[in-house]
């Protein structure tokens, strides 16, 4: 097909500006990389491959701050997903990815294809996905459009994951007006595999085949990658053509066919990669780059769903449920037979060539001839300006906000009805959390827990991010995100292994936003080093803005932990009357960015105070050690709503109560959100060892009772709350706001 514009017209009319390729980049490509004018197809490929989504050109300098190796990491960032050794020749594979822009525009398909994309990243590594998680941040439910988006997002995740037969076992859902025009939908997938089956996205070996498998290519999702690399405004609210459409049954077939090939016929396969953002071009160019190879593709052979697609459209389509394979020469028919069995297409569309050129033919003509590296490695890294926001300078000068709570019980009841704290069962019950029958702990706890059949091992997993703390203090907020995830993992009785992340921020061209990115990544990286939990995968989602208003900087931490003995999983709710109750960690006046502050003054302000990271890690290690040696009955980490909310949550769905004496905690501090704290219940016989191990960092505060009342004597007041009434309010808040009937 003829090119839509001549190279000269491109130079004159600059269509690439609409695809988010800058004039400086275009000139660099033209003069430094090619020494000629790129044609229409080539320009489109550059725009996609050089987008932030594919190249990380803006964030690369910051991402280098993350540690990504330790003694267990088998594969760090750069492949479909990261891989961690979990002993016995097994490995856990995981990654999180954002689908914020598509989900904002078309919540159902955006969320569904977010799940689909992250699952392919997992099975392209040779692993079977065993669990999904999500991290959703919505605007306030008072907006009817937002209520519709919440319902559609949840339905999209459920319909795709349920149909695939992969349980959704944990996640988080928060609400804040900063996400009103740009919601966040981050999905995480966890897979299990034998280490011997680890695959790579590489293409090598002259003459080997490049095979296209899975669904046909249509015009959906063209320029999704560049779409994710620009700001939202009301004008492009209607960019629906950039959103893909999912087919979970096709994905299920693709999953089984790929795993068949990988586990039974590893000798036929050189490499495999998901066709994700920027479709064929990114998967093929990245595989060629990884294998240091040249590649030649004939686009006429690409299975197509629509007639008359141009080379540009074929290469940039983000149609779902497709994979690219590099197959040894001579095994093409063997591979085809496997995919035939599942009714899937498997077509040889090109070959590995000598040299390092990336060459495309379409309608018998050469439409692209570029050095592979120009697409993948020569991207102009952008230096960004950064500046500490005035709001933070300002806040540092002001005195701290104090809540002055008079009625503790009504404050607790009100907090339990805040959408971010309230029960999410009406939403997560739409996800199948039990399919595959390995789910030991499902949604609604600190972390989801999956057992590994045939072993005593289990995996705990969680997603955590709190944009409010990061907004007020990016560095400390970044540390808190990691500590919160580690606390959830440890509260389940698991050893934190590693993390994946989604870095959700506004427009990085704004120096204040780049500063937030830099500072918070620094905070996360420091905490990752402290906890020995390297970053093994993840993604960056910038330009989360609507009409010039950025979201709170919201880094999401997805953490996986290893449980040595699955029979020793620690529940997050109280177990037996007379068990002793301990508060672990230090409670301070931490109200800046808290749920309490948002509820009382309708917004957040102040300074989030630094905390002692290494001391926090030290006692968390001791807590885990004591959980592994003595019988700890239950443990729950303290997060939104602080101690008061955590205590109530530990009683819900039980018929027990608590009788507590807390002379060191006043009414305000009952709801403070100091990081790294736990409530732990311990049988009397284990008290001595527990106290000896956690000396100085745990304080006995009372015991579990038979009464189903929450009773606590604070420094300046008392709580005597009927747990049934609290639970009812907590359960009904979200269905009531969504007008859902369960």
């Amino acid at each position: 097909m003829k090119q839509a514009m001549t190279p000269e017209e491109i130079k004159e009319q600059k269509p690439y500006l609409d695809w988010s390729l800058s004039e400086a980049e275009y000139d660099y490509i033209r003069t430094q990389l090619l020494g000629r004018l790129p044609n229409y197809t080539e320009t489109g490929l550059f725009a996609a491959m050089w987008s932030e989504h594919c190249s990380y050109k803006k964030s690369k300098s910051v991402l280098r701050l993350f540690p990504n190796k330790n003694e267990r990491v088998l594969q760090g960032p750069g492949e479909g997903a990261g891989v961690v050794d979990i002993d016995d020749g097994q490995a856990v594979v995981f990654k999180a990815e954002s689908h914020n822009h598509p989900t904002t525009v078309e919540p159902y398909q955006g969320a569904a294809t977010g799940i689909g994309g992250i699952l392919r990243d997992i099975f392209s590594m040779g692993a079977r996905p065993i669990a999904s998680l999500d991290s959703l941040h919505f605007g306030e439910l008072t907006d009817p459009l937002m209520r519709m988006k919440v319902e559609a997002t949840v339905r999209g995740i459920g319909d795709y994951g349920n149909c695939m037969g992969i349980p959704t076992v944990a996640g988080e859902i928060t609400f804040d007006s900063c996400y009103q025009g740009n919601l966040l939908c981050n999905a995480m997938s966890v897979g299990l595999m034998d280490q011997k089956d680890i695959q790579q996205g590489r293409a090598a070996g002259i003459g080997n085949a490049v095979m296209y498998v899975g669904a046909k290519t249509g015009r959906d999702g063209i320029h999704g990658a560049t779409f994710a690399s620009t700001d939202f405004s009301d004008e492009n609210e209607t960019q629906r053509s950039a959103v893909q459409v999912g087919d979970p049954f096709m994905e299920k077939l693709l999953l089984e066919a790929c795993l068949d090939l990988i586990t039974k016929h590893p000798a036929w396969l050189v490499g495999i990669q998901d066709m994700g953002a920027a479709g064929i071009v990114s998967s093929s160019a990245e595989m060629a780059s990884e294998g240091k190879s040249g590649m030649e593709l004939n686009l006429d052979l690409v299975p197509q769903r629509e007639p008359h697609m141009s080379a540009y459209e074929i290469m940039l389509s983000e149609s779902q449920e497709r994979m690219l394979l590099c197959v040894k020469k001579g095994n093409e028919e063997d591979v085809k037979k496997i995919f035939d069995l599942y009714g899937l297409e498997a077509v040889t569309i090109g070959r590995i060539t000598a040299g390092h050129d990336y060459v495309l033919f379409h309608d018998g003509e050469e439409v692209c001839h570029l050095p592979v590296a120009s697409l993948t490695d020569d991207v102009l890294e952008e230096e960004s300006m950064e500046r500490k926001p005035a709001r933070i300078e300002e806040a540092e000068k002001q005195s701290a906000w104090e809540p002055h709570i008079t009625n503790i019980e009504s404050t607790l009841a009100d907090l339990l009805q805040q959408p971010t704290i309230a029960d999410k069962a009406s939403l997560y019950r739409q996800y199948d959390s039990q399919v595959r029958t390995n789910t030991v702990v499902g949604p609604g706890s600190d972390a989801g827990v999956i057992r590994i059949r045939g072993t005593k091992k289990g995996l705990a997993m969680t997603t955590d991010g709190n944009g409010r703390f990061v907004y007020l203090n990016p560095e400390v907020g970044g540390q808190m995100a990691l500590v919160e995830a580690a606390a959830n993992i440890i509260a389940s009785g698991a050893q934190p292994l590693a993390i994946t992340d989604c870095l959700n921020y506004g427009d990085p061209n704004d120096p204040e936003i780049f500063w937030e990115l830099h500072q918070s990544v620094q905070g996360m990286a420091d905490a990752c080093r402290e906890f020995n939990t390297p970053v093994i995968s993840g993604n960056v989602s910038l330009y989360n803005e609507n009409n010039g208003r950025a979201i709170h900087p919201t880094p999401m931490v997805g953490m996986v932990g290893l449980i040595k003995n699955i029979d020793r999983v620690i529940p997050s709710f109280v177990q037996h009357p007379s068990d002793k109750v301990y508060l672990v960690g230090k409670t301070r006046d931490d109200f800046a960015g808290s749920e309490l502050q948002k509820m009382m003054i309708g917004g957040i302000s102040g300074v989030v105070k630094p905390f002692d990271l290494s001391h926090t890690h030290d006692y968390m290690k001791r807590l885990l050690a004591v959980m592994e040696t003595v019988h700890v009955a239950s443990a729950h980490d303290l997060s939104e709503g602080g101690l008061g909310v955590a205590l109530a949550e530990m009683l819900f769905h039980t018929d027990l109560g608590l009788d507590l004496t807390l002379p060191m905690i006043n009414a305000d501090q009952f709801f403070s959100e100091s990081p790294g704290r736990f409530v732990v219940t311990v049988p009397e016989r284990a008290m001595a060892e527990f106290e000896a191990t956690l000396a100085g960092d745990a304080v006995l505060i009372g015991e579990v009772t038979n009464s189903h009342w929450l009773e606590a004597k604070l420094a300046n007041g008392e709580v005597n709350a009927n747990v049934c009434e609290l639970q009812k309010k907590w359960e009904e808040a979200i269905p009531c706001q969504l007008k859902l009937k369960d």
């Binding site: 339905r155 459920g158 319909d159 349920n162 149909c163 037969g165 087919d247 979970p248 049954f249 096709m250 299920k252 069962a425 019950r429 739409q430 996800y431 199948d432 959390s433 039990q434 399919v435 029958t437 390995n438 789910t439 030991v440 057992r451 699955i566 029979d567 859902l740 009937k741 369960d742």
Partner: protein, 181 residues
């Protein structure tokens, strides 16, 4: 045994495509020969689509997928699938479906009740709008059982419940299935 799980993506209608698969004539033959046939969730949907069980399963009345453990009553403990349960016993089993609202015309419902073909009923609340709280039924002969709840998800204490185990033990007890040596 027809398990759950979105056969053919539930496209068109849950179970509607699966009933045309190559294995179905053999299953129908087995059912007609009086051999035990058990379908849970999508399996139940396939059995109704194939005409091995009466009625149909419609979209849940809240229009949503529901995954949770709910109480059931064992209405008929005289089937080959339920002899290890007590009559009127309350058990808890997980449900996980979007299309589980049992529907049949009045005449069929009357016949089901008269013949004791209703085996399980939702006990405390009806999660999906099923008529007469029906959660599981057999055919007239009693050798084909379809149910929306998942007994196979409730066979190990570590996963939260063992209330489903006795369904499979009943089949063993009645000599309908054999364990592998």
């Amino acid at each position: 045994m027809l398990p759950g799980g979105f056969s053919y993506g539930d496209y068109l209608r849950a179970g509607a495509i699966a009933r045309f698969t190559n294995i179905m004539p053999a299953i129908i033959k087995m059912a007609n020969a009086g051999k035990p046939v058990f379908g849970t969730c999508n399996g139940f949907q396939i059995l109704t689509e194939a005409g091995l069980l009466p009625g149909a399963l419609k979209r849940n009345d809240n229009q949503r997928f529901i995954c949770r453990t709910i109480p059931l009553e064992v209405v008929n403990n005289q089937t080959i699938f339920t002899t290890q349960y007590c009559s009127r016993e309350r058990i808890a089993l997980p449900i996980a479906h979007a299309d589980g609202s049992y529907y049949a015309d009045e005449e069929t419902l009357d016949r089901l009740e008269a013949n004791n073909q209703v085996v399980f009923r939702y006990a405390a609340e009806n999660p999906n709008g099923s008529l007469q709280n029906i959660a599981g039924i057999t055919n007239e002969r009693g050798n084909v059982l379809g149910m929306m709840p998942h007994p196979e998800r409730a066979v190990e204490a570590i996963l939260g419940s063992v209330d489903g185990l006795r369904l499979f033990k009943s089949l063993l007890e009645n000599g309908k299935v054999r364990t592998e040596a």
